[in-house]
């Protein structure tokens, strides 16, 4: 029984970064912009927060820099997709590549070690998961209201379904999308901050381990709607937790646990099965992945 409790609690913890990333992505995807760069947001904010903490030892400053890091990434993404009209998926991949390549270089330049920031002592991390959990709940509730009750939310929804509807009413689609992407980056950054100075003790190379992509899968699972996406994040987080638990549980006949590699692949297999099974008729926002004309 304790095993089960531990598993679920662990799962909830692991779903936190997914929630922030997925909701960040939701904001831009609903506006009609495919955002594969979530991984980049997570890494950038993780690095920025950890690096700032190591240097300044100031929590508020680190948090702010974390958000700022993701915003910078968002700015680059916006420039190339909105202004320069580049393909959204290619730009997303390139941005991820850029961030993944730049951060180790920066860490070597600032901290002499390529690929990680100095390990943070316990009193410089946010050990308790509660601030983040509460933040997650706030985000989920706010976003649920955002699309239908706020002016920006409604316009974002329209931008994603038929940008022409917005444009003929005199609203700039580009600017609306820009606002969504930046807001989304800010929300996703909380996930990255959690990863480096909450759950971890600093930034390590590729620490997001594909969570940005899993968050996208959760978004598809939730059909881009707030509450179902939340459920998706929880499910994937629990699958991730299972993988950790299983590594030490003797399941095989000779009392050995399952091979580590197989277990580690579990979250990805689950995501794949989901994509194979349920996908079918989910309907993405109507105007997604088409640059504004």
């Amino acid at each position: 029984m304790i095993w089960f409790q531990e598993w679920i609690l662990s799962g909830l913890r692991l779903s936190l970064p997914l929630i922030f990333a997925a909701y960040g992505g939701m904001l831009s995807e609903r506006a009609g912009v495919s955002n594969i760069a979530l991984e980049g947001y997570l890494l950038a904010s993780a690095f920025a927060a950890a690096a700032t903490m190591a240097v300044t030892h100031s929590l508020p400053l680190s948090f702010a820099m974390g958000v700022f890091g993701a915003l910078m990434v968002g700015l680059v993404f916006c420039f190339f997709t909105i202004k320069a009209r580049a393909d959204q998926i290619i730009t997303g991949m390139a941005v991820n590549l850029f961030v993944a390549g730049l951060l180790p270089v920066l860490s070597k330049a600032f901290f002499e070690v390529s690929g990680q920031t100095p390990s943070l002592p316990v009193n410089e991390r946010i050990i308790s998961v509660w601030p983040f959990a509460i933040a997650a709940i706030i985000v989920v509730i706010c976003v649920a209201f955002y699309f239908s009750k706020t002016v920006l939310g409604l316009r974002v929804w329209a931008a994603g379904e038929n940008p022409q509807a917005l444009r003929t009413q005199g609203v700039s689609v580009d600017f609306t999308r820009f606002k969504s992407i930046m807001l989304g980056a800010a929300i996703a950054s909380i996930g990255g901050i959690y990863l480096s100075i909450g759950a971890g003790s600093g930034y390590t190379r590729n620490m997001s381990a594909g969570r940005g992509y899993i968050a996208l899968a959760a978004l598809i699972f939730g059909r881009w709607k707030p509450w179902p996406t939340f459920l998706g994040c929880l499910l994937f987080g629990i699958a991730d937790a299972l993988q950790i638990q299983l590594q030490s549980v003797p399941l095989l006949p000779n009392d050995q646990p399952l091979p580590t590699q197989f277990v580690q692949a579990l979250p990805y297999v689950v995501t794949l099965l989901f994509l194979a099974g349920f996908m079918g008729r989910a309907r993405p926002p109507g105007a997604i992945n088409q640059p504004t004309l």
Partner: protein
Amino acid sequence: MRQISKTYGALRANDSINFSVRPGTIHAIAGENGAGKSTLMKILFGLIEPDDSSSEIFINDKKMKFFSPLDAIAADIGMVQQHFALAGPLSALDNIILGDEPTNGGFIDRAQAQLILEALAGEQLSVPWHKPAEDLSVGLQQRLEILKLLFRKASILILDEPTAVLTPQEVETFFSLLRRLKSEGKTIIIITHKLHEILTLCDDVTVLRHGRVTGSFSVKGLTKEKLIQAMIGREISLLQKKRTQLGAHLVEIKGISLHEKTVGSLNDLSLTLSHGEIVGIAGVEGNGQQALVASLLGLGSYEGTIFYKQKPLPKVTAEIRNKLNFGLISEDRQTQSLWLDASVSDNCSIGFTNKFSRYGLLNGKGMKTHAEEALSHYEVKMSGVGQKVKSLSGGNQQKIVVAREVNARKPEFLIASQPTRGVDVGAIEFIHQQLLKLQESGAAILLISSELEELCALSDRIVVFFEGRNVAEFSGPKYDLQKIGMAMTGGVNHA
């Protein structure tokens, strides 16, 4: 508007146009497809910018510049586009208030919005406020679009081909609505190519051809001939349709039913086509025409049977297209008939690749010759068969499709859906001639068109579709448009 010019590459869409409208009138901008009408109005509405600074726009004698629709809306101008600009899943109410949402403490106040709109709309313009826009009928959607303009207090309304999607009856209702708006002091500009509308509804008309103004008239005392002369520059020659001998039944459709969201529904539809017969399908778009085409092509799964040459029709698209000699002119040429990124010769080879491949390798030269032969009498404006199709005009693109499916393929059965959509008058004549030639060679043609005149000129029989059924049948050569219109709206009891 003075000296308005707009160039797209080598195409002068608008060429030094001077245009003016008297307040409180209904003004028509007339011309054939591609004359530059939409472009001109989009400039007025701020969606497009004119070429250079010699262009000027004056509203009520004040010079204005429109860089975006926001500027136009601020000047009390509103525009309803030909393809409605509605966000599908959003409610009707939401679509209207978008851009100027009434708020209460930072959140949208829908209750207040509804009150405002109900007062504005009255009886005539009422729509179900909370239904998603995509679930509304086309007529209601159009009301929605007009309400958008009224909500933003437009006093100049621009309507682009507003009656394209309406039945004859709905058109009358629409006209009375426009007259009411005019009496309330609004100025209305209508873009249209329908002569009847111009002569019965409007006060003035400006005619465009090839981007230039060819005439500015007051409708009082204007004759049909003078209008046509300005629109196309010459007389239309009447189509000579020979009487043909009908052969055996070629296609027999017996009681088929189909219900799919993407193509529409059919309810127990029956229809027969004989060799050498042109059967025209009349009906408002979305009443089963697309569903019928999908069934014939094996793209929709239906119940019932279709016989082709007395044998059941296969239900797999590949089989149908590769074994039976059907011709297909699809209504949406850009996504369904053409390969925009490829050359003209590649496009002409679609469906013919077996002819040009040996051991899997394609004979490029053969494909080029094939394309040149098929297009030889079509006068397609292009730099050669190597040119990419996406850089051709709509009319030229359609010519390629027709050349391929009619002249090259020489089918026994042709499905022609909106075959002259977006094509200029000279080419329309030519395409019609090709269709008639095909008929004389013994082929059967299923002609689906939203242009009643085209149907009447070409068809031996006209069948009316309504709600997925064949509700009325009329025999040519002379047709009663009123009766056809009645049937299109379901005003006929079917046996």
